[in-house]
């Protein structure tokens, strides 16, 4: 589900006025991408769901307690809270240093028109990417998900990461390069 900039501003305005229906609408809009973001960071479906629900509740409480003057977009606020919660989650589970994504990642090839071989190919591609992404540096993985999976703008990513637009562009470039190198190394090893 996509939303226009004006619509998003209207939604944020309503939420600032503690409009709970607007907040539930925001949940419908952003739950998928937030879940995806968290899932790629923590690597577990259950943990991603728990954290995702915690993000929305914490965001609502934050809105009630604060005037939301600093945040221009709701999306940026949600991602920031998600990042903080993930950091807390890491602190609590120090033992788990490396993330490995669940075997059953929930990938569903919905398009029935696709041929079986094409569907299999797609699923393989995704699985390879899924396995390679956790090997990336945390900040690289983060920007790749934000930019190329969740399709956030550079401006939005810069706001979430508290970086300048220029720094964010550089980070994305480096992250993409690192991912490509990982995939090439993997190919060489397979040969």
């Amino acid at each position: 589900m996509k939303i226009g900039k004006i619509e998003e501003k209207l939604l944020l305005y309503k939420i600032k006025k503690n409009d709970k229906e607007a907040f539930v609408k925001a949940y419908d809009l952003y739950v998928d991408q937030l879940y995806r973001f968290i899932y790629f960071k923590v690597g577990s479906r259950e943990e991603a769901e728990d954290l995702c629900s915690a993000v929305f509740l914490k965001t609502w409480n934050y809105i009630l307690e604060n005037t939301l003057k600093d945040h221009k977009t709701l999306k940026a606020l949600l991602y920031k809270i998600a990042r903080n919660l993930i950091i807390d989650h890491y602190r609590k589970n120090k033992d788990r240093e490396n993330i490995s994504l669940d075997g059953d990642s929930g990938i569903e090839v919905i398009d029935e028109k696709q041929s079986a071989s094409r569907a299999m190919e797609l699923k393989t591609d995704l699985l390879v990417l899924e396995t390679k992404l956790p090997e990336l540096k945390d900040e690289y993985r983060e920007v790749i998900i934000l930019r190329f999976v969740n399709e956030l703008s550079i401006k939005e990513i810069a706001e979430i990461l508290d970086k300048s637009k220029g720094n964010t562009r550089v980070l994305i470039f480096r992250a993409l390069k690192a991912l490509k190198e990982l995939l090439e190394n993997d190919e060489k090893m397979n040969k």
Binding site: K14, D32, E49, W60, D125, L126, E151, L183
Partner: protein
């Protein structure tokens, strides 16, 4: 064939974008949606939904910001308008006030302000005459209207007469300094205006002297018209000599001493007129008028 063989940037981005298919479980979404609604309903105050148009208007021009922006502008403009109205009204109301009235001070202050705001010496002299006229009028007002005792009236009249004389003496001083400055200027620019004026005068003279036997009707009309034009100018050249405003002022002073206040006012008016004519004569147009007067006198 592995994915790496056919991989380029575009493919990689496309495949990354395909990770969008990773979504939370529908049951989780639905259940948590209800739970979230229940959780936020428990703590939050219920707010009515607002119309989008209203929200857009408020975000473009937030009411408080608008009011805050406009507030000081309004207050200052209102205050300045109020001050202006009170000031103008006060001055207007004080115009006919006499010593002892509450607005008399406003009148004096406005006179002083006028005086300070005037920079031309001649205008200052004219203002001084106006103020002297005001004092003379005030004396008549005090004598006619006031119901006070004769002693008090006498004191007020005495004070006003002194003020009148003070104003007159100041005007006199000012006029002498103006005349001195004019004389200096005339000495410096002696040639230019005379040549200019003489030429104009001669042209008219030649016309009449060279053709004296021209049709009688024309000749009769011309002197009449010219005489009419010349009449006030002759008066200025005879009466309007350098000392005449001073003379008028001296006469005004004398009349005031004789308690002929209306006469004094008339004399001041006369002095004012003379000053006005003098200042007009100083302008370049003067040459033409002078020329006409010369022809008129020559025809006579």
């Amino acid at each position: 064939m592995t994915i790496y063989n056919r991989m380029n940037d575009k493919d990689l981005l496309k495949k990354l974008n395909n990770l969008k298919t990773i979504k939370p479980d529908d049951n989780f979404k639905k259940n948590y949606r209800e739970l979230l609604y229940a959780q936020i309903s428990a703590g939050a105050t219920v707010n009515k939904s607002e119309s989008n148009l209203r929200i857009i208007w408020e975000s473009i021009m937030p009411g408080k910001v608008f009011i805050n922006m406009v507030k000081p502008v309004w207050i200052t403009s209102l205050a300045s308008v109020l001050i202006l109205v009170i000031g103008v009204g006060g001055v207007y109301a004080s115009k006919n006030s006499k010593p002892g009235d509450s607005l008399y001070i406003a009148k004096i202050i406005s006179e002083k302000a006028q005086f300070v705001m005037t920079f031309n010496e001649k205008d200052k002299a004219k203002l001084g005459l106006e103020f002297a006229t005001n004092r003379a009028k005030e004396i008549t007002q005090v004598l006619e209207e006031s119901k006070e005792s004769e002693d008090k009236k006498g004191a007020k009249v005495e004070q006003l007469s002194q003020d009148f004389k003070k104003e007159i003496s100041q005007v006199k001083n000012r006029l002498t300094t103006i005349k001195k400055a004019e004389n200096k200027n005339n000495q410096n620019k002696e040639e230019e205006p005379e040549v200019f004026g003489a030429n104009l005068g001669k042209d008219d003279q030649r016309m009449e002297i060279s053709e004296p036997v021209k049709p009688a009707a024309k000749q009769e009309i011309l002197p009449e018209v010219k005489l009419e034009l010349a009449a006030p100018v002759i008066a200025t050249t005879t009466e309007g000599s350098l000392n005449s405003p001073d003379k008028a002022l001296e006469e005004a002073e004398k009349m005031l001493d004789e308690k002929n206040y209306d006469g004094a006012i008339d004399k001041i008016e006369e002095a004012k007129q003379i000053i006005n004519q003098e200042s007009e004569n100083l302008e370049p147009v003067k040459g033409e008028v002078k020329g006409v007067s010369e022809t008129a006198t020559s025809t006579n």
